[in-house]
């Protein structure tokens, strides 16, 4: 997020796109409701009528995968209504002409056809957003999990820059990070192309700094992303894997390919707290300690680095992942003698400019928000004050890319996947919690009552849900949350693993898989 969570409640207009905020980021939704209660307007872009969408001033119920035409349409309205922030565009951005030329060539009728949203609604949303003195855009995986995810994000950036809605308090573009420490894992360089702090592995100067600090030579070229590793199947260049606390055998799309890739490994080691679907196929499993049994830090979606404090000793013979990694490294002839997690953070601060001022003794009571450049620096509640990271903000015109798998006569439904409130990701933790299993015991397939009628399906009936890649049995719930022609289900449940069905296609830049669209069909089961 460029802003802090608490800034949202002071915004005049909040645009939420591709986020079921009430269910997945409750504290953010709480700020949105607070803002609405103090008079803010709410725009929601979501193919589903999510709980937040029901409270929106404008709900743009787009066809899944048509974000770019919608956002372009909004920008065109902003130009036509003369609502762009010309001074901001002049002072802080570049390549505006390219965007403007693209927008003036748009056919608004085509946009209405692609998105399924009326021109009136697009226009109302655009004017609301552009007229606010401060506004935030919150987006989530509904934007990024498309083959055009990077372009979707760029389109949001274009919209925000065009109206000057960045670089101020209570104003900005806020990707909501899903997991407790997904922000931190990225910050720490658990990515194939960058060292900690987003420093490129291809940059010789950066690499030298790490080589000196770690006293080894380091590989020069970027590595493979998750799905490149888990989808290579029999052509897999990967022969051995070390998986720490993840469960690709349930979370990754196109599970058939994932299974084949894992089956072709010569060696798999997994560290986890439970015997996950992935751990179950491993050659070695290390029992890991939970968050209550170790020290460390998590970085939340607003870049706040916060302490994790130990409450109890590790259960049984389990050990923290930190201890597992250092012990394994020592066995491989590269000792990592750290006395504590705090000492590891000292090394991080030394090598990572955005974390350079992060030290454990500074993290009480409520942590620090990076970038934090030195011991005197108080952290950064909102980003891009005075300037974007790259200097000027660059407009990059984007255009519609249809989803990788269009619906057809055989597979007429658009299948969208996501999360529920009471379960979490692949359920390794949440499914061990009785009240969550009571509230949300199984995956349900959301279908519009009209479609259910066509297929003669009643509520709570089991159906067969199939795509070109596989099929599962799943229980149906009838709801107008989804539009006719759309289906929605969650990926928490191994016994109805929707990722058997999802597509392997991914965004060429971000390599983010298209989990939000695939073509599917349903069949009534014979009883």
């Amino acid at each position: 997020m460029t802003n802090s969570i608490n800034e949202i409640e002071h915004s005049q207009v909040i645009l939420v796109s591709g986020s079921n905020t009430v269910k997945t980021h409750p504290q953010v939704a709480r700020r949105i409701f607070d803002a609405v209660d103090s008079g803010a307007s709410l725009i929601v872009i979501d193919p589903r009528r999510s709980p937040l969408a029901r409270h929106a001033d404008v709900h743009l119920s787009i066809r899944s995968g048509s974000d770019i035409p919608l956002l372009n349409g909004m920008m065109r309205v902003i130009l036509d209504e003369n609502l762009a922030d010309d001074a901001f565009v002049e002072m802080r951005t570049e390549n505006y002409h390219a965007l403007r030329d693209m927008l003036y060539r748009l056919d608004m009728d085509e946009i209405v056809a692609l998105t399924g949203v009326s021109l009136d609604k697009i226009s109302r949303a655009a004017k609301l957003y552009a007229r606010a003195q401060n506004s935030v855009v919150c987006y989530c995986l509904g934007i990024t999990q498309h083959i055009c995810g990077t372009d979707n994000v760029q389109a949001i950036a274009n919209l925000a820059m065009l109206t000057g809605n960045v670089e101020k308090e209570n104003t900005g573009v806020d990707p909501l990070r899903g997991q407790n420490n997904v922000q931190g894992a990225c910050d720490m360089g658990a990515l194939p192309g960058v060292f900690p702090g987003y420093q490129s592995v291809a940059d010789p100067e950066v690499r030298h700094r790490f080589e000196r600090a770690w006293q080894v030579s380091l590989p020069k070229t970027a590595g493979l992303t998750v799905t490149e590793m888990t989808h290579a199947a029999s052509d897999n260049p990967i022969k051995g894997m070390f998986v720490m606390g993840e469960n690709p055998m349930l979370s990754d799309p196109a599970l058939g390919l994932v299974r084949e890739s894992f089956a072709n490994l010569e060696f798999l080691a997994v560290a986890d707290i439970f015997l996950s679907e992935t751990a179950a196929v491993a050659d070695v499993v290390f029992p890991a300690a939970t968050f209550a049994e170790k020290e460390g830090t998590f970085t939340n979606t607003e870049r706040r680095v916060q302490l994790v404090r130990q409450a109890i000793a590790p259960v049984g013979e389990s050990r923290s992942d930190l201890d597992i990694i250092t012990a394994l490294s020592e066995k491989l002839g590269y000792p990592m003698p750290y006395a504590s997690a705090a000492e590891v953070m000292e090394e991080i601060a030394l090598l990572t400019p955005i974390y350079a001022g992060i030290f454990y003794d500074r993290l009480a009571p409520w942590g620090l928000q990076w970038p934090c450049f030195d011991r005197e620096h108080g952290g950064t509640p909102f980003l891009h004050k005075y300037n974007f990271a790259r200097g000027k903000g660059r407009f990059v015109p984007t255009s519609h890319k249809p989803p990788s798998e269009p619906t057809d006569a055989e597979y007429p439904f658009v299948l969208i996947t996501g999360r529920s409130y009471h379960q979490y990701h692949t359920g390794t933790m949440s499914r061990k919690t009785p009240v969550f299993n009571r509230e949300c015991p199984e995956g349900l397939l959301e279908i519009h009552p009209l479609d259910a009628k066509t297929y003669n399906i009643r509520a709570r009936e089991m159906v067969r849900l199939s795509s070109r890649r596989g099929s599962i049995k799943v229980k149906v719930t009838l709801t107008k949350t989804v539009n006719p022609g759309s289906l929605f289900t969650t990926f928490h449940f191994a016994e109805a693993a929707v990722n058997e069905l999802t597509v392997a296609a991914r965004d060429p830049q971000a390599k983010c898989p298209e989990l939000k669209v695939c073509a599917a069909k349903i069949e009534k089961l014979e009883t």
Partner: protein
Amino acid sequence: MRNILTTCVYCGCGCGLYLHEENGRVVGASPSKNHPVSRSNLCVKGWHAHEFIHDSSRLTQPLIRKNGVLTSSGWDEALTYTAKAFRKIIDKTEGTGIGVLASAKCTNEENYLIQKLARAVFKTNNVDHCARL
């Protein structure tokens, strides 16, 4: 009963919560009032964030696959076995044959160390996590 302030392990909001410890067990979780995110409340997952910790299916011993079956082992055996297996692949593929999945659930320090392990020891940049999922 002791109250230990920590950070929630579920979503990216990062609530400050207290874990309640009694006789070596975590028996409850509750919000911090002054924490800038939690501000006196947690979602239902936060209020129950302690419950999975003592589930009986927790892994408590290292396991090694022997004759196709995961079998309990000691730490030293499991670590030595793993190190040998990785060493073989590193030597054969110059590191390109190893893939590492870090975790959005683990701490910064653990993620830092695992990418260090990947790059410095396995000699590969094939390190990623589920940010895209």
